[in-house]
């Protein structure tokens, strides 16, 4: 079903006029209220008056994740602090979080975006949504929650983990819509099987899966093992969280809520805007955001945009499911991890520049497994196993507390890890996704 036919099926020309009006307003707002943007405009030699058409957006400089980090916590705020009603954040490359601060209206827009997303998967007020995305600073949990509230569906705020209870609730409360990471859905299916429950025979009809990369093959597996329709959803904390784009029943690309989030795809090297169908880096401008608006934010996600006459009736632009990233960010069980963060922890624990290799696998459990091979340096080697075990558990503990993920540390002999000329190869991703 279509949650908001007026917005989602609007004639494209009419939508472009709406987008331009929003863009002009946005540019004036940030120029006046955010010194960071005013300075950028001045450096680029432009003022808000130079933005007269949607194409003029190309005159505006990009915003990068590094800049979000540099302006932490409130450097991009475009409203008085008292207007902020909620704050979310995700980790940045160096551990300084990236902040998204929401006004009441921003929460309304987020709720609307997520209501559209959930409706695309067939959700109505009669549905029972089991939300197994984490509640907290991570946007997944509350994003789904707000969308479900707007629709008026029954939302069960399970949050992530607690697998046995998930299965119990799914069975006893007759969950119809499951929201979680795609890998966790397969983990749930396996766990249910072990408990002697055929998950296919329960009431599930659809799932909204996101927050980590997955593939068509994985979709087939999920649909087969859980007996539901699996939909890809996309979002990122910086822009709003989930709700930026999602698949309709055609499962052919993700409809972007472009009346709120204006997309462009650029050549990551030159910054030049690419035409429909050309793969590049996805860039978003938050047209109506009040709290922390972003102009031409580089997501580092790789995809292409396309316009088709979708049989669902929506006229919004679509993006292909993600192809990868322009940087070395890993998404482990929905958590963003940069190899540089792991390197910093290793350096802090060992007091030395470590040789290490990150191996990511999706094993029999269907969950991402992270192993970090660390070469044993003479500096921290001792004649007792206790000493090395202490270092190992210290690294594991630090990674868990700083990055929020579990990693297995494997101590290896020197020169085990291949030396490469130039940039070291730090990651082997064995996940078949």
């Amino acid at each position: 079903m279509i949650w908001n036919p007026e917005a989602e099926c609007m004639p494209p020309e009419q939508r472009r006029r709406l987008q331009l009006a929003h863009l002009k307003n946005l540019v004036e707002r940030v120029y006046e209220k955010v010194p960071f943007y005013r300075k950028k405009f001045q450096q680029a030699g432009i003022t808000p008056k130079d933005i007269r058409s949607l194409e003029d957006i190309q005159k505006i400089p990009f915003t990068t994740k590094d800049e979000l980090r540099e302006t932490y916590p409130y450097g991009l705020l475009a409203v008085p602090e008292a207007e902020i009603e909620e704050v979310h954040m995700s980790s940045g490359t160096t551990g300084t979080p990236v902040v998204d601060a929401y006004t009441k209206k921003d929460i309304d827009v987020w709720s609307e975006s997520m209501a559209r997303t959930l409706a695309m998967a067939g959700t109505t007020r009669n549905d029972i949504i089991q939300n197994a995305y984490g509640y907290g600073l991570f946007t997944g949990g509350l994003g789904v929650h707000y969308g479900a509230k707007l629709i008026g569906a029954n939302i069960i705020p399970m949050s992530s983990g607690n697998t046995s209870k998930q299965i119990l609730v799914m069975r006893d409360f007759k969950t119809t819509i499951l929201t979680c990471t795609p890998s966790y859905s397969l983990f749930l299916a396996e766990a249910a099987k072990e408990e002697g429950i055929d998950i296919r025979s329960l009431s599930l009809k659809a799932g909204c899966f996101g927050a980590e990369p997955w593939s068509e093959n994985m979709r087939k597996e999920i649909e087969e093992k859980l007996g539901l329709q699996a939909y890809d959803i996309y979002g990122l904390t910086e822009i709003t969280g989930p709700g930026v784009s999602s698949e309709c029943e055609m499962k052919n690309g993700l409809h972007i809520n472009e009346d709120f989030f204006y997309p462009e795809v650029i050549d990551p090297e030159t910054g030049k805007v690419l035409p429909d169908g050309a793969k590049g880096e996805l860039v978003f401008t938050t047209l109506v955001k009040e709290g922390t608006p972003l102009l031409r934010y580089r997501t580092r996600d790789i995809t292409f945009l396309f316009h088709d006459e979708c049989p669902c009736g929506r006229t919004t632009v679509k993006m292909h499911r993600l192809f990868g990233r322009t940087d070395d960010m890993l998404i482990i069980r929905g958590v963003n991890v940069f190899p540089s963060q792991i390197e910093q922890i290793l350096m802090a624990v060992e007091g030395t520049d470590p040789h290490y290799l990150i191996v990511v696998e999706r094993g029999a459990s269907h969950l991402d497994e992270l192993e970090i091979m660390v070469e044993v340096e003479a500096k921290f080697f001792t004649d007792e196993t206790r000493g090395l075990e202490t270092i190992r558990s210290k690294i594991e503990h630090e990674i868990k507390s700083k990055l929020g993920i579990s990693a297995r540390i494997k101590l290896v002999e020197p020169k085990t890890i291949e030396r490469s000329i130039g940039k070291a190869k730090r990651v082997i991703d064995k996940r078949k996704i």
Binding site: E377, A378, F381, E384, E389, L411, V412, E413, P414
Partner: protein, 138 residues
């Protein structure tokens, strides 16, 4: 007496120990005592050799993580109750033992046991006081 032990980090991979013994053989180094402490993923080989400096250099040049530790070589009578006597002395004098293993050395009817103790100086003092520290050839 205080002697030098060499510890070598080994992954639990087939053939690693053979690499070490081959390397030592090539440099004509004689192993006088050895033991391995192991965990699921790795082991630490501890050896006492006739030429510790040469052995350490050869191992490091060969790409191993190795280091020397000072340990006690203690003479123990090679008969029932021999080790028990030494252990009793250590217990009474509060010499805490971290690990121990036997060597191939033998002085007349006495065996030589390698002790890693918490407080090396105290250990050495007690060994000397009780005449357990005779000379060993390595």
């Amino acid at each position: 007496m205080i002697i030098k032990q060499i510890s070598i980090f080994l992954e639990n991979v087939a053939g690693r120990l053979a690499e070490v013994t081959k390397l030592l053989a090539k440099h004509e180094i004689n192993i006088r005592a050895m033991t391995i402490a192991d965990t699921a993923d790795f082991g630490i080989l501890r050896i006492v050799v006739d030429q510790p400096e040469k052995a350490l250099k050869a191992l490091r040049d060969g790409g191993f993580t190795a280091k020397t530790t000072e340990v006690l070589a203690v003479e123990v009578e090679d008969k029932p109750g021999g080790l028990a006597r030494v252990m009793e002395i250590f217990q009474q004098t509060h010499v805490n033992i971290e690990y121990l293993y036997v060597s191939l050395e033998k002085n007349k009817d006495k065996a030589v046991v390698i002790f890693k103790v918490e407080d090396l100086k105290l250990g050495q003092k007690i060994v000397e006081e009780h005449g357990l520290g005779g000379t060993v050839s390595f």
